[in-house]
Amino acid sequence: MLKKIILFFSLLSLLSLLSLLSSPLQAKDQVVGVEAARSLDDFHELLLDVMKSANGSEKEQLLRLRVVDFFDVPTISRISLGRTWKKLTIEQQLLFVEVLSELITVTYADRFRSYDGQRFSIDESEILKKGVIIKTTIFKGDTELAKLNYYFRDGRVFNVVANGISDLSLRRAEYGSIIKEEGYDVLLEQIQNKILKTRASY
């Protein structure tokens, strides 16, 4: 009986110790989550300004300043290009990051063309092995337009999942297919054409 009581209290002590040890980690995770949510809140404010701004060049100007801080474009580029990334020279890698930043800028300017009562809500966060997901919803009035999950790592976003569809996964699939069929140079050319086409549409 005494042995069982000792065993019980030993287990209890071990659990308490483990919970004490995990507390700083949880606290760190919470801080990471809060910082990511704050950064996202600022980005939402920016998107509202973009929607309310009068013309395309103004929208782009607002976005261009923030895109490189908010999104981890070098990581997005590296993952999107897969093994091709390592085969590029430093100059080619820098050019690709620059072109992709521009594509993200014009895509957001195009998607957030006008303000019609849209609002954002930050719903919850999920801690990953390396990073955090901040889950949000975009509304137009009371109607839910989409659920957007932002994947943060080291304070910046590398993936956005809209209603279950990951933009990073789409990019990787598309770019991989074009590189395989037509080569890297054609991909770069097609992205540049897409930027021009998108810009001409707003």
Binding site: D110, K130, G164, S177, T198
Partner: protein, 237 residues
């Protein structure tokens, strides 16, 4: 009955095409050659026939009427959805979909109004493909069915039989133009998504394939699929 026979013939023709040497080496898309041809053919038909019809349909019917027609077909689908929920061991989903069917068929005037959603009983689509995935057949090669769109080999019979569900459940009272109305209505509901795809995609075929595959995983895991680790490939090297 004739409809099921026609769909069965299409299924066997499709299976024949897939296994007739059109296989490609891409592990994500082993039937890519066939799929790309099927996609291009379907896109041509869509551009010339279905898209103009869908735009006309959207112009003629006010939004609430359009939503009403879609609600009718969604309501009919609550029956197989309920059965599949139960087959997946999700008793709550099965019960909820059955409750939706009863409520919307009565208070919702044969499903035209989605009264159940207003009462907080939200729709959760479940089909045979999702059931097979839950039972272990999760991986299945991607296939683009001519005119019907993206699917997987596992889901081909599901897609074809799904077209027959209204007639199977309602019988001879289901009007002949019902299927046409359903197809055009569904296409009209996708006008925005397809426009967005065309605006964003650099390779629309691959975009469609990857988006479909992701959406299907989203449905199979009831909105909470496993998080993909994009960094593994790089950090393990």
């Amino acid at each position: 009955m004739v409809q099921i026979l026609v769909y069965s013939i299409i299924f066997f023709l499709l299976s024949g095409c897939l296994h007739s040497g059109l296989q490609d080496s891409n592990p994500d898309d082993p039937y890519e050659k066939f799929n790309r041809k099927s996609y291009q053919f379907s896109e041509r038909v869509d551009k010339r026939l279905l898209a103009p019809l869908a735009r006309g349909y959207s112009r003629v019917f006010p939004d609430h009427v359009e939503a009403g027609f879609n609600n009718v077909f969604a309501n009919i689908n609550s029956a197989p959805s309920s059965v599949n929920g139960l087959l997946q061991g999700q008793i709550d989903v099965g019960a909820r979909e059955f409750a939706r069917l009863v409520i919307n068929s009565t208070f919702g005037v044969v499903g035209f109004f989605d009264v159940a959603s207003n009462w907080g009983i939200k729709q959760q689509h479940e089909d045979v493909g999702q059931t097979l995935a839950v039972w272990g057949l999760e991986e299945s090669p991607y296939v683009y069915i001519p005119l019907l769109g993206p699917s997987t080999v596992r889901d081909i019979p599901v897609r074809l039989v799904a077209m027959s569900v209204p007639r199977l459940l309602i019988g001879e009272d289901f009007p002949g133009y019902g299927t046409a109305l359903r197809v055009v209505g569904q296409r009209a509901g996708m006008i925005g998504s397809i426009e967005q795809r065309n605006a964003n995609a650099i390779d629309p075929y691959t975009f469609t394939r990857d988006a479909y595959t992701q959406l299907r995983a989203f449905e199979i895991y009831n909105g909470d699929p496993p998080v993909e680790d994009f960094f593994d490939e790089f950090e393990d090297e």
